[in-house]
Symmetry: D2
Subunit: 339 residues, 4 copies
């Protein structure tokens, strides 16, 4: 299968290139980088020194000519334009930006505070979370890969809302992410000496991922869900841990049963104890643990992913595997690093 | 003023020694370490190489003979016995364990799952948070220095509960602490390779500090407060950031007005933006910021302290300053490190 | 091919288990752990939650009965005994301790300050560095996998000494290693709060790896090499960077030509710039860069590896691949992590 | 004493502001920041929230009018111009750039590859290392504060060269620095995700500090010293550890005796073991340890400082204390942080 990657040198793009490099079913035809066209991938990420690629400028015709699948890893807003041109070709598109995650352009435009550049594609695109939309993904022409924070929150909450086990109001998602989530951007707050030994919250009550989480959980619950979502920046490279609070009078057995929807999922593990970031870093896994607080009629759920893998590049590849009829785990079944 | 430190070589004890070493009004008479008696402080913490102390075995009579103030930095449970003996002397005692923070021994015994060894002193002891109990502290013979997590949570919430601005139910305290909070203990989960690049929650729905926070907030609110408290372990050395959620319909002005109780406090700053751990690390400050989410009728408060200073040794010294009539900021007015 | 791992739960053993889990040619028959027999691998390293193993107590007969290759990851000293029993069976043994890296038991005994428990095997064992001993490895019954620091130093220096391009005296190897190199041991200096934001040298003039480096470089130079080796502990998990100084009047062309011995090596890259730890972390690669200082007639070489992979588990698997006639890169050709 | 700081918002400038804020003898009249004039110090470094300053644009006349001491924390090259104007006033100047550390403008121009803008002041300026030039500092009108790496290297080597105990050729200084040493500059290689879990060498055989180290050691040795200096970037914020190699046949006693020159120095400690960065971080101390390798006739010296304090701002204040007749340790005698 011939694939191309547009935006190969951001952090998510580079991680996608890394995963695709050892994927047995694909051949990388074009690795596109606006900033570094003409250079080698190993000039930008020296870890590619033993398996290199030449970066190209964007030439959509050339890409369309020989690509079956195109991954687009562009900033939101700019993605819509490129994707709408690719969409006209035979290629199927897997977009890692926020632009094709929404059903309702107005919702996107409100939270992203920008016009949507390709509204007509929103009803074609599929929200690329295999655990929720596996069948639709298989036949999709365009995928909007879920956001990193939403992946951790939705996988934890959707089964409980679908089963009617937690209250729809009062949900709080307190998430903490590694710094790769902020991208490879030369901004002062991302300097080592600013992040190291520090920890901070940001985007209180306004972070865009709130709307994405609410959209999918409202579908799961079949009623409107609104919730508090607070992201934080961890002084680590990879990983998201979301601590989630919801009011419930459900029993341990009921909760456990609701999570059985994941029994056959290759990349979701509901564990007995509490997951930690290092349990999933380097893998495509989402690990979920929880504790019911009978004293307060509340459940506290802890959900962990690697933001660059299950939260971005790995989930994108999982989508591709489904779309192309490959083994869903191909290229993704490595054990996490722990160390 | 002659002071002694019992338990000088744990992380809180060592920090206390560091602060006291540059305190102008005190003379350290005895630095007690069970494990390292006879050694020098600089054998255990080489940073003391330019200002050293000889560690001694515990001899309560010797301590009582020449100490005006005794700091006890012992594990909870063991502290009660030592403190009750010190209490008989002329010395005033500042205890950094949990043993003298409670009014009700039963509450302590339930959450700490152990017998209290000196119940008779509980009504003598003062909860050592100057912002709440300044006058009582001045005359106290025995202080229970507040816990680190409780300090961050109580300072953030007490004024709002006292003013009746937030709902008493539905409060959630999601706290993240640096690893010094776990003490200098050679346990596998505290190894560098286990903590580094990791993040985890622990003690869900059962952490002991829950009871301490609830005790003080119930007093502030003049009604029983129960809440969810979830601690997490950050891969940094120092600092606590608590993200706190409460339901409210109060206005910005009301909240701001309630926090004016801190206007003259030397060590609490209510800031316009959001505080980060590096804004307070190395200082005795508590920085508080907040955002009202009108969409959800909820306030999100972010409260930051240095767990070893305002959360332990610094607050202990602040208590001493009040008890001895020193300038309340003596030894504590250094600017945080940031770097 | 049936393989077994003795010592599967130390850091090197766990990394070996991780690599072997995705190796296409092998089947893990026995994963042995003295401390955790009966538990699951995922109880000890939760990253194995999606691909688990049951840990067993050591039963050498059982292992010999069905293992073609046995990896031994035991502390030096204790390894010799187990290996000598395995050696009697049909199994071929790949030992990750220091016990079978030496030709001369006296050298081992002097630097390790202990008796060697299986001297008779030293002349059977092959020093498992494929770049130096590929042919001998293929037919070996017993491999002593090189140490982590020695791998970084020997790969950098052997070609230059073999070509007579640098002086044999005056060589200095200043090495810096991530903390996994110290193993999963609950010692105070390995606690997070002791290692984080710190850096230190240790073992000056006495570290055991000095003798291993000198042994192999003396063979390469065909004359006795003695050198200064100083290890340091980095506040990171993985990776070694060695900065190496040697006196030389050789030209850039001569040095470059000497390093051409690595042109066909799959896991050694001589790069134009300077390698960094993140260029190789997560891979089996050794990246080497250098600068000739004409002013001082000295060459400075920088050599980087992942201490757990090329410095331990990966190199062990590379040896197995050669011994078993597999593709030498099987299980090892993943791109490093960078992030 | 009235002082001003030009360049108050770089990392060294901010550290200087922090130290001066608790210095009992000084009053900060002007804190100058080109980029942030008009803002508050706490807008840039929120740790100043409890002790704030208003940042001003550069007005040399205003500064000269009321400042006894002016600290200049500007990039090399730009410093010379400002300093030469200040030099005409009554103010005494303490410059933290490289511009006034050299006796010979040609040496500066060669290594810094730029014209020197105020050559006429070089013979007026004093190299601000109190351990070498205390008396000259007291009367100086202009100080060139030593570089961070040079401070660690010169303090370790000068006494041994002065005593003729080590060979003048063959010296190697392998230094490792925290990332604050690179300044607050928004460059890609300084991003958290690039520095974290990484380690690298840079500037091999060409780093400018080589010339500064050689200049001062040549004076100490009274013969020309050339040496290899290799800096490395540590994934920590603060601290430098230099591992230094020199050929010697001197005895332990001879070395120890040579270091007795530091017996009365308040900020240099020669220790029995090996110093680590955390032994000095947060303090103005330089800790030196060593080991003689009799096998190789070589001494290995380990020298540690906090690069922002003894390597920059602290040493600058130590100079001021001498120039103004204050206690040399005023504002600088705090114990390091360790944690």
């Amino acid at each position: 299968m011939n694939i191309s990657v547009i935006g190969a040198t951001g952090y998510a793009g580079a991680e996608l290139m890394r995963i695709l490099s050892s994927h047995k079913e694909v051949d990388i035809k074009h690795a596109i980088s606006k900033s570094f066209a003409g250079q080698k991938m190993s000039d930008i990420y020296e870890s590619f020194l033993a398996c290199d690629y030449t970066l190209e400028a964007l030439d959509i015709d050339a890409i369309c000519a020989d690509s079956d699948i195109v991954f687009t890893c562009l900033p939101h807003g700019t993605s819509a334009d490129v994707v709408s041109r690719l969409y006209e070709s035979k290629a199927r598109v897997i977009d890692l930006s926020a632009d094709f995650r929404y059903y309702d352009a107005a919702l996107y435009e409100k939270w992203y505070n920008t016009k949507h550049g390709a509204k007509h594609l929103l009803e074609q695109s599929v929200y690329g979370m295999p655990e929720l939309y596996r069948e639709q993904i298989k036949g999709a022409k365009l995928i909007g890969v879920p956001g990193c924070y939403p992946t951790s929150a939705i996988l934890a909450l959707a089964p409980l809302l679908a089963a009617g086990l937690i209250e729809s109001s009062g949900i709080i998602v307190d998430s903490k992410s590694g710094t790769t989530g902020a991208g490879r951007s030369t901004k002062l707050p991302l300097l080592f000496c600013e992040v190291d030994e520090n920890f901070k919250a940001y985007g209180l009550a306004t972070h865009r991922h709130t709307s994405e989480i609410e959209q999918e959980l409202s579908i799961a619950a079949d009623s409107e869900i609104t919730l508090s979502f607070t992201p934080h920046l961890l002084p680590i490279k990879r990983g998201i841990l979301s601590t989630i609070y919801a009011n419930t009078t459900a029993s341990e057995e009921q909760i456990s049963k609701a999570y059985e929807v994941y029994n056959d999922e290759p990349f979701v593990q509901v564990v007995d104890g509490l997951p930690e970031i290092k349990h999933v870093a380097g893998s495509n896994n989402c690990a979920i643990g929880y504790k019911i607080d009978k004293r307060l009629n509340r459940i506290i759920i802890v959900s962990c992913i690697d933001n660059l893998i299950k939260g971005a590049a790995g989930q994108a590849v999982q989508n591709m595997n489904l779309m192309c009829g490959f083994d869903e785990t191909e290229g993704l079944n490595q054990i996490g690093w722990y160390l």
